[in-house]
Symmetry: C2
Subunit: 588 residues, 2 copies
């Protein structure tokens, strides 16, 4: 180890720093947070990182920042036009340094001569640093000679995974996937521009083996159960890939990488990993760290040499989808306290700043997704998404027309409005008509009625199905369990963190539900603490957005790994105070 250090001054930034002997300029730029793009990842291949060295003698020299080693005091000038950042158009918009997990570099190789008789591999990679693989070495001599030494190499994770004929540098696709328990969404991305080309989605076909995570885990423990669940999700993803590339006018072989996030159970099932240990105490996952796999080993039909990048998990019930969300909201840069809530079958919650963050998962049940609710449905076309009860009862329907049922956001509104109108009491009981005192409530006594033997409140009898849309006492009980779980989760995280609701700077609600939700109603029913009403922001599918970030940028991938390893997991099932909070929060 050398102890020598040299002064390096960098223009036009005007940064002065000390560097170790033999450090590269790349290292100096990175250590000093100088924004500078290395398209080939610093492998000395792309020749894009040229800078100017100025010597005291007046001499100037152009060198490649990724390769140049410091052996003297230096004045370095970054003369390239400003290195570009790209903007991501989904989820929370923000700038991303485009540096995808798979890269292409076009190489016009000098022909071998007696004075330049390097081996084919060294000629291809020019500098050491990329280890030769057997497969590429086997195809190399034919490939470069058939193409007259003019080829494009495809690089993933410091490994050459393919060699293509001539210059195909501008054609490079990837797909980001969010595997939800219910829905699978895929985004076809142009890895050269960072642009989304098309979006596709489908129901998770595993649903037929169980609507919720636990029933699928149990099915996976049966004979051939795991293989079947794994096969179903792989097939669904393959169909989405085929659909997306067809729609955008490409071939599946143009896709070299997919990134995948999902909750921990979806993660295990996708990877053909036994998920049994997730379902019983102490609920340990098999693996939380991010995984890079060969597409072929998983049966994923993209380019046969392509790669699959799977986001890391945090714990058994806080998966890569939540890491993706935390990455989307940039919790690793948050100076002030942020609350992230992803409400689905489980309600996963993250609370924290860049210095300290906590996560938990609450078994909220599927009420917010319209499941187990008599007239419930997903937030899709025909769903009542908002309801207002005042002098008259009004509602809106997604895509207009007659309603089919009630979406999660509609359910929250109905309960909030019925509370305000005094038709539901603080314990969640629907009052009998004779018990209603509230003047607004009194206008709707005829809607309080018994349907199929259960006390209910009628919303609409002119519907798309011909059957009335209404909410029952049982629906309200389901809702109370769900919102109680989430509210208790928030309370326990706040307590563990040592903060009050008031200390929270922003609340991010992930998922479609978060976008449709009326925040006033959400606070009124106690789903979210009242003091946060004006701090709530719906951020849509943050899992998908995070998967895209992961795919587009090595830096984002490193951030995701860092986030996953730093967010502490709080196991609620082990805590008395969670149970206490839950019973406190069940009522309104």
């Amino acid at each position: 180890m050398s102890d020598k250090k040299y002064k390096v001054k960098i223009l036009p930034n005007n940064i002065e720093t000390l560097a170790e002997e033999n450090d590269t300029l790349k290292k100096v730029f990175t250590d000093n947070n100088i924004s500078f793009e290395f398209p080939c990842g610093g492998l000395g291949l792309c020749k894009q990182c040229q800078v100017k060295i100025k010597r005291d003698s007046g001499e100037e020299e152009r060198v490649f920042a990724c390769q140049f080693k410091i052996k003297e005091d230096l004045l370095v000038e970054i003369t390239k036009k400003e290195q570009q950042h790209r903007i991501l158009s989904e989820g929370l918009e923000r700038e991303v340094l485009l540096d995808p997990l798979v890269k292409k570099v076009h190489r016009k190789l000098p022909q071998p001569t007696l004075s330049d008789n390097r081996d084919d591999w060294s000629r291809l990679v020019e500098r050491r640093g990329i280890r030769p693989s057997l497969k590429i070495a086997q195809e190399l001599p034919k490939k470069i000679r058939e193409n007259n030494f003019d080829v494009t190499i495809v690089i993933s994770d410091d490994e050459i995974i393919a060699i293509e004929d001539k210059n195909t540098q501008d054609m490079l696709l990837g797909m980001a996937f969010d595997i939800g328990t219910t829905t699978v969404a895929g985004y076809l991305m142009d890895l050269k521009s960072g642009k989304e080309l098309t979006k596709v989605s489908t129901l998770n076909p595993q649903t037929k083996y169980g609507a919720d995570v636990i029933s699928r885990i149990n099915f996976a423990e049966t004979d051939a159960g795991l293989e079947r669940l794994h096969g179903e999700i792989v097939q669904a993803i393959n169909e989405l890939i085929a659909e997306a590339v067809k729609e955008a006018g490409f071939k599946t072989s143009d896709v070299y990488a997919i990134s995948v996030c999902g909750n921990t159970a979806m993660h295990h099932l996708f990877l053909n990993i036994k998920p049994g240990s997730l379902a019983s105490t102490p609920y340990v996952p098999v693996v939380t760290e991010h995984i890079v796999a060969d597409a072929q080993d998983l049966g994923i039909k993209i380019n046969p040499t392509g790669k699959v990048f799977i986001l890391p998990n945090i714990a058994g019930f806080v998966g890569g989808d939540i890491v993706a969300g935390a990455l989307t909201i940039e919790i690793d840069k948050a100076e002030k306290l942020k609350l992230f809530i992803d409400i689905g079958t489980n309600g996963e919650i993250v609370l924290g700043t860049k210095d300290n963050s906590l996560s938990c998962s609450t078994a909220a049940g599927p009420a917010f997704e319209g499941v187990e609710i008599t007239c419930g449905m997903r937030g899709a076309s025909g769903a009542i998404d908002h309801v207002h009860i005042d002098n008259e009862l009004s509602y809106t329907v997604i895509d207009d027309g007659l309603p089919y049922g009630i979406a999660g956001s509609g359910l929250v509104d109905i309960i909030a409005e019925l509370l305000k109108a005094g038709i539901i009491d603080q314990n969640g009981r629907i009052l009998r008509p004779e018990e209603v005192n509230n003047p607004i409530g009194k206008k709707y006594l005829d809607r309080i009625t018994t349907i199929e033997g259960v006390l209910s409140f009628l919303i609409e009898d002119k519907t798309a199905t011909g059957r009335p849309v209404y909410i029952t006492q049982k629906d309200i009980r389901e809702f109370q369990l769900a919102k109680g779980a989430i509210a208790a989760g928030i309370e326990v995280l706040l307590k563990t963190y040592g903060a009050k609701a008031d200390d929270i700077d922003e609340v991010f609600l992930a998922g479609a539900f978060g976008n449709y939700l009326d925040y006033k109603s959400a606070c009124r029913v106690g789903l979210i603490p009242q003091e946060l009403e004006n701090k709530i922001k719906g951020i849509g599918n943050s899992a998908g957005a995070g998967a895209k970030l992961f795919l587009l940028s090595e830096k984002e991938r490193n951030r995701a790994r860092d986030i996953a390893s730093k967010i502490k997991y709080v196991e609620l099932s082990a805590r008395e105070d969670f149970r206490d909070a839950f019973f406190n929060k069940i009522n309104f």
Copy 2:
């Protein structure tokens, strides 16, 4: 990057040094060449690298050197019993730090609990640093639970390649192979002790498609030629593995790694890489850097998860066998000038010190191996290996008995002795009986005779075959071409290096031929410069010895890579001065 440095004093070595903040003690030990073994390679797994930290307060703490990060001035005491070095028993004997390319670590894992609910993978590897692979993640949950959390992990190159039931830490085998153009040798090694268990060898079955490298390269260019040559050598190696493990009482699945070296053509054929570019100018290899491949991808029958490590090459005609030789003679540590000669069908030569070294290959032809020599044979049982001509003609036969033919070393002796006896002149011509003037020579005039129309010198007519053993004028011409090529190669390397023969400190002769050779004869015939006669050392199969070093020690592997990248290759075919030297050296 932190600029902070701390003083670290290490006992009992009494070394004081400065370390960067957050450096590990492992790094400090390595940087300061403190001999200390990290059995798991510093991954924090094996818990074998405990040292004692002593604080000014009198406080003492035991820490693991591979994990402990420096954040203050430290006094460190190495209290472990002295870390052991093993001695290699073949080739040049020397000490090696045993740190094989595949390692095993026994792990008794703590069972998961609610307060320790890490994922299985983190529990297994304990600290980050080993990336999870899909395959291992898939088998992990079942494997550790079936074994009650008591397993042994097999690690190669910072990757877990297998998990075995319970504690199998002490059972770990590897095999080192030297693939020669003519012979394949394999050494079964116990990677836990560094001991050689058994040695096996066989003829290279590719011989039936051509005795020499060029004819095999040409055959490989024909339809299915490459597959056939590749298949032949893989099958031969598989048979050697099966033979060796059977002999030593093990199973092929106990073998987790093989290391392989050979000349560049053998390297390409073994790896199923088209060798065509080696055979025509500018003679470029496809790959010179070392390759790590999955045994399964090459059809090598060891443990299905095992690895194949292939030594790096230097150039088209200076392969991994020469890198192995240069590693064996430790050219990377040589203060004084060393000459290494591996005489086979090609004569590869390395000349240099630790600071600067050169290599070349000369097409010597197979004369030294007894091929193309009328009564020539390999240096095996029944071969005349030494001849002395004085008042009487005497010779020795390998394993005694009647001779079958003449080995390379015998050929050198015969020519040296016939020169001394004045029966061959300086131009290599066998004198007719009437031309012989030398008084010793005159005793043997009846042996100068025409056999099958060619002027010859009879060595013995009482032979094992019943046919006489003799040397012909044509044999002497073949020999002159061979020795001229090697002598010219040495001369050109010396000239390129800027040294004289006298500057050479030691000459190493590799291969069986080098062991049998009479060095006085070798110098008298001009194969090796006269002034080096007393500096010559036969080192046996240095290729095999190097392959063993490569297999046994990560450090030796790094040295081999370094050697391969630093030895400059001198292409003789492009040089006038080589042709001139060759014509000068043909005569005696």
